[in-house]
Symmetry: C2
């Protein structure tokens, strides 16, 4: 089959991949079959697409274009589209080589990443790449090649400022709103910190969901660059820019499988940062029961990998283990977290949030030579207490098109609410991250920005039976009810007395 | 989201998977998103489908059904379809457990296979299962569980005859038409051999393509059962019956990746055979350069696995290594191979084909107690020479609805042809299976049944420059030309003199 010209017929259907539709008779006369890959092109735009087959929906000589292909080729009805066969991508052979346990060269890794970004590999083939990484770890050298390839196949910006700093948490814990404080503290000291972050996927609120209530987070690379130049910091949504787009494709395929290969985790984070030419990166590794990393040993191991990879990539990486066994602060959900962050910037916030955000800011200040070694946290705390960080946050909000004088009451909070009380007295022994997350999401977060949870106690506190332990907020009555049911079924707190279990003398005697 | 009822709107589009189309507003109001899995049901039929999204192609309250879903639910326009969310399949956790290197229980393997057959796993998730098998071999115990699960999730028949025998070749070589002789020889001896085989996927002719020119191969399980009872043997197309359907799904995903995990290879073959309650199976392992197994060591290793698996599954398995370094016989392509098989049954065929088909039949006769140990091949040869095998083949052809007195000229042979001659004199050192296959397929085989290749020489023969070495047959002029080009570019024969390379004294002196 040589390239042939087909008349476009548009179908407004999102299929989640690049697909086109051809008539059965055309397919047969080309000696092709359903499911093959072809290259569809118009002018200088082209896309690799998988072929669906019909006898009736398009005629011979017509090509049905679904939304992804229509967009990519900027097609209009009846446009002329060239269809040509594509050869089996060479990168599949490299993935097979990995499966056999062989190391890949830089060129081979680059070819795989390029084919992923250009749509030449199917979801199944990309999954094979991920599963192989999950089973056979890539070396640090290969992970560095992977990271570089992910940067090179996306957009990048070169910021003029130096050094460019950034901070990133591995695997969120509920209420993890620290960057709304850490970024303005660091920027207050004159440093540059262009933080991009994600919207929630499995959590009740991503940093971009929270910041999105205060300002515009869908910024272009040029806007990010201008804002950073002006006010030093930015809190933008990573999804609005095309930094390391391979990562987005890979993450979408990792999630249903519940895998997160170490090499991919490392490359994912560093590629996003290197795309904005970050010089110094602080990685926060929340550690504790219910966090992504449950033990210090696992976290230190990961920290070591980050530092080695930074070394390979010629970027300064520091890591810090923070306590991740319970939510940070007392508020969970976009609106509630935005309020708690603002209140804390204004001088009235919970200790855990103040400690973590000044602790991380302190390390960044030391890395950026804006505080003497060992004095970073103190300098950060002074900046926060002086109100400078709040003023800087107002500048950032304004630069991002928001209202710098936003009031608490402007921020959404669900008017359907219910207090959950302790069913017995004792000490709060555990607050389950996963249950807090599930209840907040069931209540509507992050889609309903006013939905979420307000905690009244944290771990270690003594409480009486009947004391309110948390309040659920929702925007819709039915979601509130579902969340209450869930909170009663899987209690998010474990309360125990000091006397945990009695082992009687009699029992011991009986056993001996 | 509880089950909701939608009005069906049919789209005649084959997407290669179960997909439905919902309106964006419906999707959002359910809190779902594109790419989620839902269960679509009508009456007692149901299917798990992936959701595509549109704003215009279906209205709110409508569900667009593509061909696979329409067929599975037997939908008509405007039928009421229930849509309900499905939970994340538990089997994904079992696949993840495999990735971590843990053994799976029978129940876990069964759950994976069941979810594959019922469409609960996406192509990516099934690929994860295959890649994990490719990297971490399953144990024989696990492979036995896999085989049993593949049998149980498909149709089966219980034949009354005992023993039921079968023969299967691992990885074809071009011209591998032996079963058109072996099956009638074995059935002539009064044994039962219900052979199902495939149509060509990557080869120029599968057994079912060749037999399809002589009789009907699309038989139901009931027809297979009746024919076997009547004449002892059958040569049916496995694709027409629903034996071990998981295998078809898995093979479709293995092919683009170019992987064939050992455990899957073993389970694939034995599951098809156990579905028709075969008692004794002979596995033919063609071995040699260009065959699937290139060395005796690899082949013996595989043979050992087959025997161990047979032991676990309580079925008698024997294996035999045959020479697979060049095509079998002289004919390649459906029509040419049908002719060669018939001529050989009638007493006039090439030695390699006679040797292999009587050799395999001989082992089967010994397994089935129809020949004394060590005498099988002789008995088989007598049956062939006596004309009994030809008569039995005529009975089989008639029972399958074909003409028992089919003449050579009734069989298709392309009228476009070209002889390729030797460009130098010497000995035929190699005939490349892969090049013979590619040329025959380019000439049109198996789609054009008259297309293929007739060889004039086999390995070891001495030839002169200008001697015809093969003839290409095609039904279409353009395909013939493409095949000729290919044959001239990648010569399918290697011809060398006895003196391979001269290492002169002078060279040696110079080097020392």
């Amino acid at each position: 089959m040589s390239p042939e010209v087909f008349k476009a017929k548009l179908f407004e259907v999102e299929t989640g991949q690049n697909s086109i539709l051809l008539n059965q008779r055309d397919i047969e006369s080309f000696g092709l079959h359903a499911g093959v890959r072809v290259e569809a092109s118009m002018g200088d735009k082209n896309v690799v697409a998988v072929v669906d087959v019909t006898r009736t929906m398009v005629d011979e000589g017509e090509v049905g274009a679904f939304t992804e292909v229509t967009d990519r080729l900027s097609l209009s009805e009846e446009d002329k589209v060239k269809i040509a066969p594509v050869s089996h991508p060479e990168s599949i052979g490299f993935i097979r080589k990995m499966m056999k346990g062989n190391d890949l060269s830089s060129g081979e890794i680059h070819a795989i990443v390029k084919d992923i970004v250009e749509g030449r590999l199917t979801s199944s083939e990309i999954t094979a790449f991920l599963v192989t990484q999950e089973i056979r770890n890539l070396s640090i050298q290969e992970t560095a090649d992977l990271t570089r390839s992910m940067v090179e196949t996306g957009d990048t910006i070169e910021l003029d400022e130096e050094p460019v700093l950034d901070v990133h948490s591995i695997g969120g814990i509920p209420g993890n709103k620290y960057s709304l404080l850490t970024v303005p503290i660091v920027a207050s000291a004159g440093l540059t910190i262009p933080k991009t972050s994600s919207k929630a996927i499995t959590s009740p609120a991503g940093t971009a969901d929270i910041m999105g209530l205060l300002a515009d987070v869908s910024l272009t690379l040029e806007e990010i660059s201008n804002i950073v130049r002006k006010v030093g910091g930015v809190l933008a949504w990573g999804g609005a820019v095309n930094l390391a787009p391979a990562d987005d494709i890979l993450v979408r395929l990792e999630r249903p499988l519940g895998i997160d290969p170490r090499s991919q985790l490392l490359a994912s984070i560093l590629s996003k940062k290197l795309s904005v030419n970050t010089d110094m990166i602080l990685i926060d590794i929340p550690t504790g029961p219910g966090a992504k990393m449950e033990t210090d040993e696992d976290s230190k191991n990961l920290a070591h990998d980050f530092i080695s990879l930074g070394h390979e990539l010629n970027v300064e990486v520091e890591t810090v283990l923070t306590y991740g066994g319970q939510p940070l602060g007392y508020a969970v959900g976009p609106g509630l977290e935005a309020r708690e962050a603002l209140e804390t910037l204004q001088g009235n916030g919970p200790n855990s949030l103040i400690e973590k955000s000044t602790g991380l800011a302190g390390i960044l200040l030391e890395m950026g030579d804006s505080a003497p070694l060992g004095q970073g946290t103190k300098v950060a705390m002074d900046i926060l207490k002086s109100g400078k960080a709040y003023n800087k946050m107002q500048e950032i909000i304004e630069a991002q098109g928001g209202d710098p004088d936003v009031k608490m009451d402007d921020l959404p909070i669900g008017d359907k609410k219910e207090v959950i009380s302790a069913s017995k007295e004792g000490y709060v022994k555990r607050i389950y991250n996963s249950r807090i997350r599930d209840i907040a999401r069931t209540a509507g977060a992050p889609r309903d920005p006013g939905a979420g949870i307000k905690l009244f106690y944290k771990e270690g506190r003594e409480i009486d039976k009947g004391d309110p332990i948390l309040e659920i907020y929702a925007e819709h009555e039915n979601k509130l009810e579902d969340a209450i049911k869930m909170a009663k079924k899987n209690k998010p707190f474990r309360i125990e007395g000091m006397m945990l279990e009695r082992v009687s003398k009699r029992t011991r005697t009986d056993l001996s």
